[in-house]
Subunit: 218 residues, 2 copies
């Protein structure tokens, strides 16, 4: 496991409930790796935009991709972005409205995004992306074409300025409220996978690969 830290900067230092904040790469990487969904924030014509996208991590970088014609890709290249990954792990139901909360894991990552232009590097990144989700699938696919690599843009951002924020555990009520006749506790939430659904045009005789059944997210 990495022992590196992403040093807290003024904007990554967790201000609210600071005991929930973490800056170690082990915590940050685990959260980035747990969810394929990220929300990428960027500024376009002086206004904030937040675009959901799939992302992946390799070593000290995160990557996300999109059509070469996408506004998000065009705007984010070379620009300051904030990439946030969040997993909602549960509702925290306290004895007062005020102490209701949520259990969650989140990472905010700041930096400048850079477009990857070399086709071989792009192919290697896309392969790593797919291998992370469905190991072994890449080699079974119809090989990627040069025109497809051209039509796909990949953005890269180093994991330098990042913070994690995590809440776990039961509600924290005001001391006198524990004596009240009110049920309190947590309602766990998680992302679950359903049974794989065959493409209606699937060639007869093909079975769901084990790697697809084995996908776990969260």
């Amino acid at each position: 496991m990495s022992q590196k830290n992403a040093a807290p900067s003024p904007r990554t230092r967790v201000k609210r409930v600071h005991e929930r904040g973490a800056y170690d790469r082990t915590t940050i990487d685990a959260i980035l790796d747990a969810s394929p969904i990220a929300h990428v924030g960027y500024i376009f014509e002086d206004a904030p935009f937040v675009t959901p996208t799939l992302h992946w991590r390799e070593g000290d970088h995160v990557y996300w991709h999109g059509s070469a014609a996408s506004r998000m890709i065009e705007t984010a290249d070379g620009a300051e972005v904030c990439l946030t990954v969040t997993l909602l792990d549960g509702l925290v139901l306290a004895r007062s409205a005020f102490h209701h909360s949520a259990n969650y894991r989140s990472v905010m990552l700041f930096g400048r995004a850079t477009l990857i232009s070399d086709p071989e590097a792009k192919e290697a990144r896309l392969k790593a992306f797919m291998e992370g989700l469905v190991p072994g699938r890449w080699e079974t696919l119809r090989p990627i074409l040069q025109k497809e690599l051209k039509a796909t843009s990949i953005l890269s951002m180093p994991i330098i300025e990042a913070s994690a924020k995590v809440r776990t555990g039961p509600p924290k009520d005001d001391e006198p409220d524990y004596a009240l006749d009110i049920w309190a506790g947590t309602l766990p939430l998680q992302i679950s996978t359903g049974a794989p659904v065959d493409d209606p045009r699937l060639k007869p005789g093909l079975c769901v690969p084990e790697a697809v059944r084995g996908v776990k997210i969260g």
Copy 2:
């Protein structure tokens, strides 16, 4: 059901894969209501920030809340924000890497956020928030205190400039690729609730309320 539309503006008009775009309030409201998690984007010292938060909708407005001392709340009041809600409904596994995709529902909502200052209005909004998640719970709680209302800030944004983007269904492969011996299909994903967990300090004899068991998200 609402028949209102959120008119597409230059920034809400879905550029990429425009057949996935929708601007009718029925679609937009259903997505906003399906997930309690939103990602709020705002600009702080010329850089984009994306903060995860719980949100709720009442009629033509969305709301989110936080500590009165939160940077997100302070910064967003009166400022342009982009609030994005995303549900990842599945992985779409095609016969080529290029046509891999995701099924999802997302809404991007643009506008100016406004702080609600009237304590009675704040209490009514918080009650509606909780009733939306766990119906009936509000009345069972220790009543909210004035100092708690004071410490809680609520931001409001009208649903005027919004777009939804939705993908459903099987992969769309290149026509010749359907003949290949490659499994293709979708892997459904959903948010599932686990069994409620009692607070370790729960008063003996209290049972999990039916409304908590009935919470459904997604």
